[in-house]
Protein backbone atom coordinates (compact mmCIF):
# COMPACT_ATOMS: atom_id res chain seq x y z
CA UNK A 1 0.00 0.00 0.00
CA UNK A 2 1.17 3.55 -0.79
CA UNK A 3 1.51 5.56 2.41
CA UNK A 4 2.92 8.78 0.99
CA UNK A 5 1.86 9.67 -2.49
CA UNK A 6 3.41 12.69 -4.18
CA UNK A 7 1.93 13.46 -7.56
CA UNK A 8 3.38 16.06 -9.98
CA UNK A 9 4.49 18.19 -7.05
CA UNK A 10 6.12 21.54 -7.73
CA UNK A 11 6.99 24.35 -5.38
CA UNK A 12 7.93 27.86 -6.41
CA UNK A 13 8.90 30.63 -4.00
CA UNK A 14 8.97 33.33 -6.64
CA UNK A 15 7.57 33.57 -10.16
CA UNK A 16 9.45 31.42 -12.65
CA UNK A 17 11.90 29.92 -10.11
CA UNK A 18 11.09 26.43 -8.90
CA UNK A 19 12.63 24.92 -5.77
CA UNK A 20 11.04 21.59 -6.73
CA UNK A 21 9.84 20.72 -10.25
CA UNK A 22 7.16 18.14 -11.06
CA UNK A 23 8.27 15.30 -8.83
CA UNK A 24 6.20 12.17 -8.33
CA UNK A 25 6.99 9.61 -5.64
CA UNK A 26 5.23 6.68 -4.01
CA UNK A 27 6.45 5.54 -0.61
CA UNK A 28 5.00 2.21 0.52
CA UNK A 29 4.28 0.86 3.97
CA UNK A 30 7.04 -1.13 5.62
CA UNK A 31 9.67 0.94 3.87
CA UNK A 32 12.64 2.96 5.09
CA UNK A 33 12.97 5.55 2.37
CA UNK A 34 16.05 7.79 2.12
CA UNK A 35 15.73 11.17 0.48
CA UNK A 36 19.12 12.40 -0.68
CA UNK A 37 20.47 15.48 -2.37
CA UNK A 38 22.97 18.31 -2.01
CA UNK A 39 22.15 21.45 -0.03
CA UNK A 40 19.46 23.55 -1.68
CA UNK A 41 18.30 20.60 -3.82
CA UNK A 42 14.70 20.79 -2.57
CA UNK A 43 14.72 18.09 0.16
CA UNK A 44 13.46 20.28 2.99
CA UNK A 45 10.95 22.00 0.70
CA UNK A 46 9.52 18.60 -0.24
CA UNK A 47 9.46 17.44 3.38
CA UNK A 48 7.84 20.66 4.63
CA UNK A 49 5.19 20.27 1.94
CA UNK A 50 4.52 16.65 2.95
CA UNK A 51 3.91 17.70 6.57
CA UNK A 52 1.74 20.67 5.57
CA UNK A 53 4.10 23.51 6.42
CA UNK A 54 4.23 24.66 2.80
CA UNK A 55 1.51 24.71 0.18
CA UNK A 56 2.38 22.97 -3.10
CA UNK A 57 2.40 25.32 -6.09
CA UNK A 58 1.23 22.44 -8.28
CA UNK A 59 0.34 18.80 -7.71
CA UNK A 60 -0.91 16.92 -4.69
CA UNK A 61 0.45 15.09 -1.65
CA UNK A 62 -1.47 12.48 0.35
CA UNK A 63 -0.47 10.75 3.59
CA UNK A 64 -2.31 7.52 4.36
CA UNK A 65 -5.01 8.61 1.93
CA UNK A 66 -5.45 12.11 3.43
CA UNK A 67 -4.67 15.06 1.18
CA UNK A 68 -2.33 17.30 3.16
CA UNK A 69 -3.94 20.52 1.91
CA UNK A 70 -7.59 19.42 2.07
CA UNK A 71 -7.55 17.21 5.19
CA UNK A 72 -4.45 18.51 6.93
CA UNK A 73 -5.52 17.65 10.50
CA UNK A 74 -6.26 13.99 9.67
CA UNK A 75 -3.03 13.76 7.68
CA UNK A 76 -0.97 15.29 10.51
CA UNK A 77 -2.30 12.72 12.99
CA UNK A 78 -0.56 10.07 10.84
CA UNK A 79 2.79 11.84 10.89
CA UNK A 80 5.66 12.08 13.33
CA UNK A 81 7.78 14.95 12.03
CA UNK A 82 11.27 15.99 13.05
CA UNK A 83 12.38 19.21 11.34
CA UNK A 84 15.96 19.91 10.24
CA UNK A 85 16.22 22.49 13.01
CA UNK A 86 14.35 21.58 16.19
CA UNK A 87 11.58 24.13 16.83
CA UNK A 88 10.71 23.91 20.51
CA UNK A 89 9.17 26.09 23.18
CA UNK A 90 12.33 27.26 24.87
CA UNK A 91 10.89 28.42 28.18
CA UNK A 92 9.07 25.17 28.96
CA UNK A 93 10.55 22.22 30.80
CA UNK A 94 11.25 19.20 28.61
CA UNK A 95 8.49 17.19 30.29
CA UNK A 96 5.98 20.04 29.93
CA UNK A 97 6.75 20.23 26.23
CA UNK A 98 6.25 16.48 25.79
CA UNK A 99 2.95 16.60 27.67
CA UNK A 100 1.81 19.49 25.49
CA UNK A 101 2.61 17.55 22.30
CA UNK A 102 0.86 14.48 23.76
CA UNK A 103 -2.23 16.62 24.42
CA UNK A 104 -2.21 17.84 20.83
CA UNK A 105 -2.20 14.23 19.57
CA UNK A 106 -4.69 13.15 22.25
CA UNK A 107 -2.31 10.52 23.63
CA UNK A 108 -3.73 8.66 26.64
CA UNK A 109 -2.11 9.03 30.06
CA UNK A 110 -0.89 5.44 30.04
CA UNK A 111 0.63 5.63 26.57
CA UNK A 112 2.39 8.92 27.21
CA UNK A 113 3.81 7.71 30.51
CA UNK A 114 5.16 4.54 28.91
CA UNK A 115 6.53 6.17 25.79
CA UNK A 116 8.08 9.19 27.53
CA UNK A 117 9.82 6.87 29.99
CA UNK A 118 11.09 4.43 27.37
CA UNK A 119 12.09 6.97 24.74
CA UNK A 120 13.78 9.33 27.20
CA UNK A 121 15.72 6.39 28.64
CA UNK A 122 16.72 5.25 25.15
CA UNK A 123 18.01 8.73 24.32
CA UNK A 124 19.40 9.27 27.83
CA UNK A 125 17.36 12.40 28.39
CA UNK A 126 15.21 11.30 31.36
CA UNK A 127 17.10 13.23 34.02
CA UNK A 128 17.07 16.39 31.89
CA UNK A 129 13.33 16.50 31.30
CA UNK A 130 12.82 18.62 34.43
CA UNK A 131 15.13 21.33 33.06
CA UNK A 132 13.92 24.15 30.84
CA UNK A 133 14.61 23.63 27.15
CA UNK A 134 16.70 26.79 26.75
CA UNK A 135 19.41 25.09 28.81
CA UNK A 136 19.59 22.12 26.39
CA UNK A 137 22.50 21.51 24.00
CA UNK A 138 21.86 21.07 20.27
CA UNK A 139 21.92 17.29 20.64
CA UNK A 140 19.49 17.32 23.56
CA UNK A 141 17.07 19.47 21.57
CA UNK A 142 17.28 17.02 18.70
CA UNK A 143 16.54 14.15 21.09
CA UNK A 144 13.55 15.97 22.58
CA UNK A 145 12.28 16.71 19.09
CA UNK A 146 12.58 13.01 18.23
CA UNK A 147 10.80 11.86 21.40
CA UNK A 148 7.96 14.32 20.82
CA UNK A 149 7.57 13.15 17.23
CA UNK A 150 7.41 9.47 18.16
CA UNK A 151 5.25 9.78 21.26
CA UNK A 152 1.87 9.32 19.57
CA UNK A 153 3.09 6.21 17.76
CA UNK A 154 2.62 7.67 14.27
CA UNK A 155 2.31 5.41 11.24
CA UNK A 156 4.64 7.56 9.19
CA UNK A 157 7.91 9.00 10.45
CA UNK A 158 9.13 11.99 8.48
CA UNK A 159 12.58 12.97 9.63
CA UNK A 160 14.61 15.82 8.14
CA UNK A 161 18.28 15.04 8.82
CA UNK A 162 17.51 13.35 12.15
CA UNK A 163 21.05 12.20 12.89
CA UNK A 164 22.55 15.72 12.96
CA UNK A 165 23.59 16.56 16.51
CA UNK A 166 23.07 13.09 17.96
CA UNK A 167 25.88 11.29 19.78
CA UNK A 168 26.97 7.94 18.22
CA UNK A 169 24.98 5.86 20.71
CA UNK A 170 21.74 7.80 20.17
CA UNK A 171 22.31 7.75 16.41
CA UNK A 172 22.71 3.97 16.54
CA UNK A 173 19.51 3.60 18.58
CA UNK A 174 17.58 5.83 16.21
CA UNK A 175 18.72 3.72 13.24
CA UNK A 176 17.54 0.61 15.07
CA UNK A 177 14.20 2.26 15.84
CA UNK A 178 13.75 3.23 12.20
CA UNK A 179 14.42 -0.31 11.06
CA UNK A 180 12.16 -1.79 13.72
CA UNK A 181 9.35 0.62 12.78
CA UNK A 182 9.50 -0.45 9.14
CA UNK A 183 9.59 -4.13 10.10
CA UNK A 184 6.20 -3.62 11.77
CA UNK A 185 4.81 -2.56 8.39
CA UNK A 186 5.10 1.18 9.02
CA UNK A 187 6.98 3.82 7.10
CA UNK A 188 10.06 5.96 7.62
CA UNK A 189 10.84 8.77 5.20
CA UNK A 190 14.00 10.67 6.01
CA UNK A 191 16.63 12.92 4.50
CA UNK A 192 20.30 12.60 5.29
CA UNK A 193 23.77 13.37 4.05
CA UNK A 194 25.30 10.35 5.76
CA UNK A 195 25.78 7.73 3.05
CA UNK A 196 26.71 5.01 5.52
CA UNK A 197 23.22 5.19 7.05
CA UNK A 198 21.63 5.07 3.63
CA UNK A 199 23.55 1.92 2.74
CA UNK A 200 22.71 0.24 6.03
CA UNK A 201 19.01 0.89 6.56
CA UNK A 202 17.30 2.20 3.44
CA UNK A 203 15.03 -0.08 1.41
CA UNK A 204 14.77 2.52 -1.32
CA UNK A 205 16.24 5.94 -1.98
CA UNK A 206 15.46 8.97 -4.09
CA UNK A 207 18.09 11.47 -5.19
CA UNK A 208 17.02 15.03 -5.86
CA UNK A 209 19.17 17.80 -7.30
CA UNK A 210 18.17 21.34 -8.34
CA UNK A 211 14.54 20.44 -7.65
CA UNK A 212 14.44 17.44 -9.99
CA UNK A 213 14.38 13.75 -9.14
CA UNK A 214 17.42 12.01 -10.61
CA UNK A 215 16.90 8.52 -9.24
CA UNK A 216 14.34 6.43 -7.38
CA UNK A 217 15.05 2.81 -6.48
CA UNK A 218 16.96 0.45 -4.20
CA UNK A 219 20.50 1.13 -3.03
CA UNK A 220 21.64 -2.08 -4.77
CA UNK A 221 20.16 -0.97 -8.07
CA UNK A 222 21.75 2.44 -7.74
CA UNK A 223 25.17 0.99 -7.02
CA UNK A 224 24.88 -1.67 -9.73
CA UNK A 225 24.00 0.97 -12.34
CA UNK A 226 27.18 2.84 -11.45
CA UNK A 227 29.58 -0.11 -11.48
CA UNK A 228 29.51 -1.02 -7.80
CA UNK A 229 31.14 2.18 -6.57
CA UNK A 230 30.75 3.35 -2.98
CA UNK A 231 27.53 5.18 -2.10
CA UNK A 232 29.50 8.39 -1.73
CA UNK A 233 30.98 8.07 -5.21
CA UNK A 234 27.60 7.16 -6.66
CA UNK A 235 25.99 10.18 -5.01
CA UNK A 236 28.65 12.55 -6.34
CA UNK A 237 28.30 11.04 -9.80
CA UNK A 238 24.50 11.18 -9.91
CA UNK A 239 24.40 14.77 -8.65
CA UNK A 240 27.18 15.69 -11.14
CA UNK A 241 29.32 17.07 -8.33
CA UNK A 242 32.74 18.48 -9.22
CA UNK A 243 34.04 17.93 -5.71
CA UNK A 244 36.50 15.24 -6.79
CA UNK A 245 38.24 17.65 -9.17
CA UNK A 246 38.63 20.36 -6.51
CA UNK A 247 42.16 21.53 -5.80
CA UNK A 248 42.63 22.48 -2.18
CA UNK A 249 46.35 23.26 -2.31
CA UNK A 250 45.51 26.96 -1.69
CA UNK A 251 44.63 26.07 1.88
CA UNK A 252 48.30 25.60 2.75
CA UNK A 253 49.69 28.18 0.33
CA UNK A 254 50.57 30.83 2.96
Amino acid sequence: MRVISIHDFSKSYSKGTFAVKNISLEIRDGEVFGFLGPNGAGKSTTIKSIVGLLNPTNGSITVNGHDITKASVQAKYQIGYVPDEAVLMEKLKGIEYLNFIADMYQVSNRQRRERITKLSEAFKLNSDLVKTIDTYSHGMRQKLSLISALMHNPAVWILDEPIVGLDPESAFRLKKMMKSHSEKGKTVFFSTHVMEIVEKICDRVAIISKGELLFVGTVEKLKKNRGDSTMEEVFLEVTKSEAEQDDFSYLDAY
Partner: protein, 338 residues
Protein backbone atom coordinates in the same frame (compact mmCIF):
# COMPACT_ATOMS: atom_id res chain seq x y z
CA UNK B 1 -2.13 14.39 32.82
CA UNK B 2 -4.21 14.38 29.64
CA UNK B 3 -5.91 17.71 28.99
CA UNK B 4 -8.39 19.08 26.52
CA UNK B 5 -6.52 20.12 23.36
CA UNK B 6 -7.61 23.75 23.42
CA UNK B 7 -7.06 24.23 27.16
CA UNK B 8 -3.63 22.66 26.91
CA UNK B 9 -2.74 24.86 23.93
CA UNK B 10 -3.80 28.07 25.70
CA UNK B 11 -2.11 27.17 29.00
CA UNK B 12 1.10 26.17 27.21
CA UNK B 13 1.16 29.38 25.17
CA UNK B 14 0.66 31.41 28.36
CA UNK B 15 3.42 29.46 30.10
CA UNK B 16 5.83 29.94 27.19
CA UNK B 17 4.85 33.59 26.68
CA UNK B 18 5.48 34.64 30.28
CA UNK B 19 8.24 32.09 30.89
CA UNK B 20 6.43 30.85 34.01
CA UNK B 21 8.23 27.50 34.25
CA UNK B 22 11.57 29.13 33.65
CA UNK B 23 10.93 31.74 36.33
CA UNK B 24 9.71 29.08 38.77
CA UNK B 25 12.89 27.06 38.27
CA UNK B 26 15.08 30.15 38.41
CA UNK B 27 13.55 31.74 41.51
CA UNK B 28 12.53 28.80 43.65
CA UNK B 29 14.72 25.88 42.59
CA UNK B 30 18.01 27.39 41.51
CA UNK B 31 17.54 30.48 43.74
CA UNK B 32 18.96 32.60 40.90
CA UNK B 33 18.01 36.18 40.03
CA UNK B 34 15.99 36.37 43.23
CA UNK B 35 16.64 40.12 43.28
CA UNK B 36 14.44 40.36 40.18
CA UNK B 37 11.58 38.67 42.00
CA UNK B 38 11.93 40.85 45.07
CA UNK B 39 12.32 44.00 42.98
CA UNK B 40 9.02 43.23 41.28
CA UNK B 41 7.38 42.59 44.63
CA UNK B 42 8.87 45.82 45.97
CA UNK B 43 7.67 47.94 43.04
CA UNK B 44 4.14 46.57 43.24
CA UNK B 45 4.16 46.87 47.03
CA UNK B 46 5.32 50.50 46.80
CA UNK B 47 2.65 51.32 44.23
CA UNK B 48 -0.03 49.62 46.29
CA UNK B 49 0.91 51.23 49.60
CA UNK B 50 1.89 54.75 48.54
CA UNK B 51 0.16 55.44 45.23
CA UNK B 52 -2.90 53.27 45.91
CA UNK B 53 -4.60 55.46 48.57
CA UNK B 54 -4.03 58.62 46.50
CA UNK B 55 -5.49 56.92 43.42
CA UNK B 56 -8.52 55.72 45.39
CA UNK B 57 -9.07 59.21 46.81
CA UNK B 58 -8.87 60.82 43.36
CA UNK B 59 -11.25 58.29 41.86
CA UNK B 60 -13.66 58.81 44.76
CA UNK B 61 -13.60 62.59 44.23
CA UNK B 62 -14.30 62.13 40.54
CA UNK B 63 -17.24 59.84 41.28
CA UNK B 64 -18.65 62.43 43.70
CA UNK B 65 -18.39 65.16 41.10
CA UNK B 66 -20.10 63.03 38.46
CA UNK B 67 -22.82 62.06 40.96
CA UNK B 68 -23.53 65.68 41.82
CA UNK B 69 -24.72 66.26 38.25
CA UNK B 70 -26.26 62.81 37.97
CA UNK B 71 -23.71 61.62 35.43
CA UNK B 72 -22.03 58.82 37.36
CA UNK B 73 -22.48 56.59 34.31
CA UNK B 74 -20.07 58.80 32.42
CA UNK B 75 -17.37 57.94 34.94
CA UNK B 76 -17.74 54.25 34.12
CA UNK B 77 -18.07 55.02 30.41
CA UNK B 78 -14.73 56.87 30.44
CA UNK B 79 -12.99 54.09 32.33
CA UNK B 80 -14.13 51.46 29.79
CA UNK B 81 -13.35 53.78 26.87
CA UNK B 82 -9.84 54.68 28.05
CA UNK B 83 -9.03 51.01 28.72
CA UNK B 84 -10.30 50.08 25.25
CA UNK B 85 -8.23 52.83 23.62
CA UNK B 86 -5.09 51.55 25.32
CA UNK B 87 -6.03 48.12 24.01
CA UNK B 88 -6.29 49.48 20.49
CA UNK B 89 -2.90 51.19 20.61
CA UNK B 90 -0.89 48.47 22.26
CA UNK B 91 -2.88 45.56 20.89
CA UNK B 92 -1.97 46.26 17.29
CA UNK B 93 1.69 45.47 17.99
CA UNK B 94 0.81 42.47 20.11
CA UNK B 95 -1.48 41.05 17.41
CA UNK B 96 1.15 41.48 14.66
CA UNK B 97 3.86 40.03 16.86
CA UNK B 98 1.81 37.10 18.11
CA UNK B 99 0.41 36.15 14.71
CA UNK B 100 3.33 36.81 12.43
CA UNK B 101 6.63 36.92 14.27
CA UNK B 102 6.59 34.34 17.04
CA UNK B 103 8.70 31.26 16.38
CA UNK B 104 6.13 28.87 17.84
CA UNK B 105 4.01 29.16 14.68
CA UNK B 106 6.41 26.79 12.91
CA UNK B 107 5.73 24.24 15.60
CA UNK B 108 1.98 24.81 15.92
CA UNK B 109 1.40 24.52 12.18
CA UNK B 110 3.04 21.11 12.12
CA UNK B 111 0.62 19.82 14.78
CA UNK B 112 -2.88 18.49 14.07
CA UNK B 113 -4.56 21.81 14.85
CA UNK B 114 -7.15 23.64 12.79
CA UNK B 115 -6.22 27.17 11.79
CA UNK B 116 -9.09 28.54 13.90
CA UNK B 117 -7.76 26.70 16.97
CA UNK B 118 -4.36 28.34 16.59
CA UNK B 119 -6.04 31.64 15.86
CA UNK B 120 -8.33 31.33 18.89
CA UNK B 121 -5.49 30.46 21.25
CA UNK B 122 -3.27 33.25 19.96
CA UNK B 123 -6.01 35.88 20.18
CA UNK B 124 -6.75 34.68 23.70
CA UNK B 125 -3.08 35.22 24.55
CA UNK B 126 -3.18 38.78 23.18
CA UNK B 127 -6.30 39.44 25.26
CA UNK B 128 -4.59 38.18 28.39
CA UNK B 129 -1.62 40.44 27.63
CA UNK B 130 -3.95 43.40 27.30
CA UNK B 131 -5.92 42.42 30.38
CA UNK B 132 -3.06 43.78 32.49
CA UNK B 133 -4.11 47.23 31.25
CA UNK B 134 -7.67 46.53 32.35
CA UNK B 135 -6.48 45.42 35.78
CA UNK B 136 -4.68 48.74 36.13
CA UNK B 137 -7.13 51.18 34.54
CA UNK B 138 -10.53 49.50 34.73
CA UNK B 139 -10.67 47.28 37.78
CA UNK B 140 -9.96 50.01 40.39
CA UNK B 141 -12.60 52.47 39.05
CA UNK B 142 -15.16 49.67 38.82
CA UNK B 143 -14.47 48.51 42.38
CA UNK B 144 -14.33 52.01 43.85
CA UNK B 145 -17.57 52.91 42.07
CA UNK B 146 -19.27 49.77 43.35
CA UNK B 147 -18.16 50.39 46.93
CA UNK B 148 -18.97 54.10 46.94
CA UNK B 149 -22.45 53.65 45.49
CA UNK B 150 -23.22 50.52 47.49
CA UNK B 151 -23.82 48.52 44.33
CA UNK B 152 -25.99 45.40 44.31
CA UNK B 153 -24.98 41.84 43.41
CA UNK B 154 -25.94 42.26 39.74
CA UNK B 155 -23.43 45.10 39.47
CA UNK B 156 -20.60 42.93 40.80
CA UNK B 157 -21.50 40.01 38.52
CA UNK B 158 -21.74 42.35 35.52
CA UNK B 159 -18.44 43.92 36.54
CA UNK B 160 -16.66 40.59 36.09
CA UNK B 161 -17.99 40.26 32.53
CA UNK B 162 -17.14 43.87 31.70
CA UNK B 163 -13.61 43.34 32.97
CA UNK B 164 -13.07 39.99 31.23
CA UNK B 165 -14.39 41.27 27.89
CA UNK B 166 -12.79 44.70 28.21
CA UNK B 167 -10.02 43.92 25.70
CA UNK B 168 -12.02 41.66 23.42
CA UNK B 169 -13.40 44.44 21.21
CA UNK B 170 -9.98 45.95 20.30
CA UNK B 171 -8.53 42.50 19.57
CA UNK B 172 -11.56 41.52 17.44
CA UNK B 173 -11.32 44.70 15.36
CA UNK B 174 -7.56 44.29 14.94
CA UNK B 175 -7.95 40.69 13.80
CA UNK B 176 -10.72 41.57 11.35
CA UNK B 177 -8.56 44.32 9.85
CA UNK B 178 -5.06 42.85 10.05
CA UNK B 179 -5.56 39.22 9.09
CA UNK B 180 -7.15 39.90 5.68
CA UNK B 181 -4.64 42.71 4.97
CA UNK B 182 -1.80 40.33 5.69
CA UNK B 183 -2.78 38.35 2.60
CA UNK B 184 -1.68 41.28 0.49
CA UNK B 185 1.08 42.76 2.65
CA UNK B 186 3.80 40.38 3.72
CA UNK B 187 4.30 41.46 7.31
CA UNK B 188 7.36 39.25 7.63
CA UNK B 189 9.10 41.06 4.80
CA UNK B 190 8.39 44.62 5.93
CA UNK B 191 8.65 44.28 9.69
CA UNK B 192 10.57 47.52 10.36
CA UNK B 193 8.56 49.51 7.84
CA UNK B 194 5.35 48.17 9.32
CA UNK B 195 6.22 49.30 12.84
CA UNK B 196 6.90 52.87 11.64
CA UNK B 197 3.85 52.90 9.39
CA UNK B 198 1.52 51.58 12.08
CA UNK B 199 2.86 54.09 14.61
CA UNK B 200 2.20 57.00 12.23
CA UNK B 201 -1.21 55.58 11.35
CA UNK B 202 -2.10 55.26 15.01
CA UNK B 203 -1.15 58.88 15.72
CA UNK B 204 -3.34 59.99 12.80
CA UNK B 205 -6.23 57.82 14.01
CA UNK B 206 -5.91 59.13 17.59
CA UNK B 207 -5.88 62.76 16.43
CA UNK B 208 -8.82 62.05 14.11
CA UNK B 209 -10.78 60.31 16.85
CA UNK B 210 -10.05 63.07 19.33
CA UNK B 211 -11.14 65.73 16.81
CA UNK B 212 -14.32 63.84 15.96
CA UNK B 213 -15.23 63.03 19.55
CA UNK B 214 -14.57 66.58 20.79
CA UNK B 215 -16.58 68.18 17.99
CA UNK B 216 -19.37 65.69 18.40
CA UNK B 217 -19.64 66.14 22.13
CA UNK B 218 -19.13 69.89 21.96
CA UNK B 219 -21.91 70.17 19.41
CA UNK B 220 -24.09 68.09 21.69
CA UNK B 221 -23.36 70.25 24.71
CA UNK B 222 -23.84 73.54 22.92
CA UNK B 223 -27.40 72.78 21.97
CA UNK B 224 -29.68 74.12 24.70
CA UNK B 225 -32.42 71.60 24.04
CA UNK B 226 -30.02 68.74 24.19
CA UNK B 227 -28.45 70.09 27.36
CA UNK B 228 -31.86 69.93 29.05
CA UNK B 229 -32.44 66.48 27.60
CA UNK B 230 -29.03 65.35 28.85
CA UNK B 231 -29.66 66.52 32.39
CA UNK B 232 -33.11 64.95 32.47
CA UNK B 233 -31.83 61.72 30.90
CA UNK B 234 -28.13 61.00 31.67
CA UNK B 235 -28.35 57.72 29.71
CA UNK B 236 -28.67 59.85 26.57
CA UNK B 237 -25.26 61.41 27.12
CA UNK B 238 -23.75 58.01 27.81
CA UNK B 239 -25.23 56.71 24.57
CA UNK B 240 -23.92 59.78 22.74
CA UNK B 241 -20.45 59.52 24.27
CA UNK B 242 -20.41 55.78 23.83
CA UNK B 243 -21.52 55.65 20.21
CA UNK B 244 -17.87 56.00 19.19
CA UNK B 245 -17.08 52.93 21.30
CA UNK B 246 -20.18 50.70 21.66
CA UNK B 247 -18.82 48.37 24.39
CA UNK B 248 -18.60 51.37 26.72
CA UNK B 249 -22.23 52.49 26.49
CA UNK B 250 -23.60 48.94 26.48
CA UNK B 251 -21.34 48.03 29.41
CA UNK B 252 -22.47 51.04 31.44
CA UNK B 253 -26.14 50.28 30.78
CA UNK B 254 -25.53 46.70 31.91
CA UNK B 255 -23.77 47.94 35.05
CA UNK B 256 -26.10 50.67 36.26
CA UNK B 257 -29.17 50.51 34.02
CA UNK B 258 -32.74 50.25 35.20
CA UNK B 259 -34.36 47.01 36.45
CA UNK B 260 -34.56 43.98 34.17
CA UNK B 261 -33.12 45.95 31.25
CA UNK B 262 -29.70 45.62 32.88
CA UNK B 263 -29.78 41.88 32.35
CA UNK B 264 -30.75 42.38 28.72
CA UNK B 265 -27.90 44.86 28.23
CA UNK B 266 -25.51 42.38 29.82
CA UNK B 267 -26.76 39.68 27.48
CA UNK B 268 -26.26 42.02 24.52
CA UNK B 269 -22.77 42.92 25.80
CA UNK B 270 -21.73 39.25 25.93
CA UNK B 271 -23.46 38.41 22.63
CA UNK B 272 -21.74 41.28 20.85
CA UNK B 273 -18.29 40.10 21.93
CA UNK B 274 -18.87 36.39 21.34
CA UNK B 275 -20.36 37.02 17.88
CA UNK B 276 -17.52 39.40 17.07
CA UNK B 277 -14.95 36.86 18.20
CA UNK B 278 -16.47 34.10 16.04
CA UNK B 279 -16.61 36.47 13.09
CA UNK B 280 -12.94 37.34 13.62
CA UNK B 281 -12.12 33.61 13.77
CA UNK B 282 -14.09 33.04 10.57
CA UNK B 283 -12.23 35.84 8.77
CA UNK B 284 -8.92 34.59 10.16
CA UNK B 285 -9.61 31.02 9.13
CA UNK B 286 -10.30 32.13 5.58
CA UNK B 287 -7.18 34.27 5.38
CA UNK B 288 -4.68 33.37 8.09
CA UNK B 289 -3.67 29.87 6.98
CA UNK B 290 -2.74 31.05 3.51
CA UNK B 291 -1.01 34.06 4.99
CA UNK B 292 1.06 31.90 7.25
CA UNK B 293 2.03 29.61 4.39
CA UNK B 294 2.97 32.68 2.35
CA UNK B 295 5.06 33.83 5.29
CA UNK B 296 6.76 30.42 5.25
CA UNK B 297 7.36 30.83 1.53
CA UNK B 298 9.06 34.12 2.21
CA UNK B 299 11.31 32.57 4.85
CA UNK B 300 12.17 29.54 2.76
CA UNK B 301 12.51 31.63 -0.37
CA UNK B 302 14.99 33.90 1.33
CA UNK B 303 16.94 30.90 2.50
CA UNK B 304 16.86 29.50 -1.01
CA UNK B 305 18.07 32.78 -2.47
CA UNK B 306 20.90 33.00 0.03
CA UNK B 307 21.93 29.45 -0.79
CA UNK B 308 21.72 30.26 -4.47
CA UNK B 309 23.96 33.26 -3.92
CA UNK B 310 26.56 31.11 -2.25
CA UNK B 311 26.38 28.56 -5.05
CA UNK B 312 26.66 31.28 -7.69
CA UNK B 313 29.92 32.41 -6.17
CA UNK B 314 31.24 28.97 -5.36
CA UNK B 315 33.41 28.90 -8.49
CA UNK B 316 35.21 32.01 -7.32
CA UNK B 317 35.66 31.49 -3.61
CA UNK B 318 37.67 34.64 -3.00
CA UNK B 319 35.15 37.03 -4.51
CA UNK B 320 32.94 37.26 -1.42
CA UNK B 321 31.51 40.76 -1.54
CA UNK B 322 29.95 42.73 1.29
CA UNK B 323 26.61 41.87 -0.18
CA UNK B 324 27.34 38.16 0.14
CA UNK B 325 28.42 38.53 3.70
CA UNK B 326 25.40 40.64 4.53
CA UNK B 327 23.01 38.04 3.17
CA UNK B 328 24.83 35.25 4.94
CA UNK B 329 24.83 37.11 8.22
CA UNK B 330 21.13 37.74 7.98
CA UNK B 331 20.54 34.01 7.54
CA UNK B 332 22.65 32.10 10.03
CA UNK B 333 20.38 29.12 9.42
CA UNK B 334 22.21 28.38 6.20
CA UNK B 335 25.26 27.09 7.93
CA UNK B 336 23.14 24.77 10.03
CA UNK B 337 21.61 23.33 6.90
CA UNK B 338 24.91 22.31 5.31
Amino acid sequence: MKQNKMISLILTLINAHYGLSKKRVQYFKEKKRLWEFFLLLGVFGFLFIFIGPLFVKLQGMMIDQYRQVGLEGLFLNNAILITGMFGFFLGIYLVINEFFFTKDLNLLMSLPLKPKEILGAKSFLVMIDLLWISLLFLLPPLVIFGVKTGADIIYWITMVFVLVFSQAFPVIIQMIVLLPISRYINFGKYKDFLIYFMSILLVVVVIGFQFYATNDLAGYQLSEEKMIEMLSNPQGLISQAGKDYPPASIGVKALIGEGFQRVLWLFLFILMHVTGFYFALFIGEKTYYKTYLKFQDHYNGKEGKANQLIFEHSSDRFSGTDCNLFVCNKQPGISANI
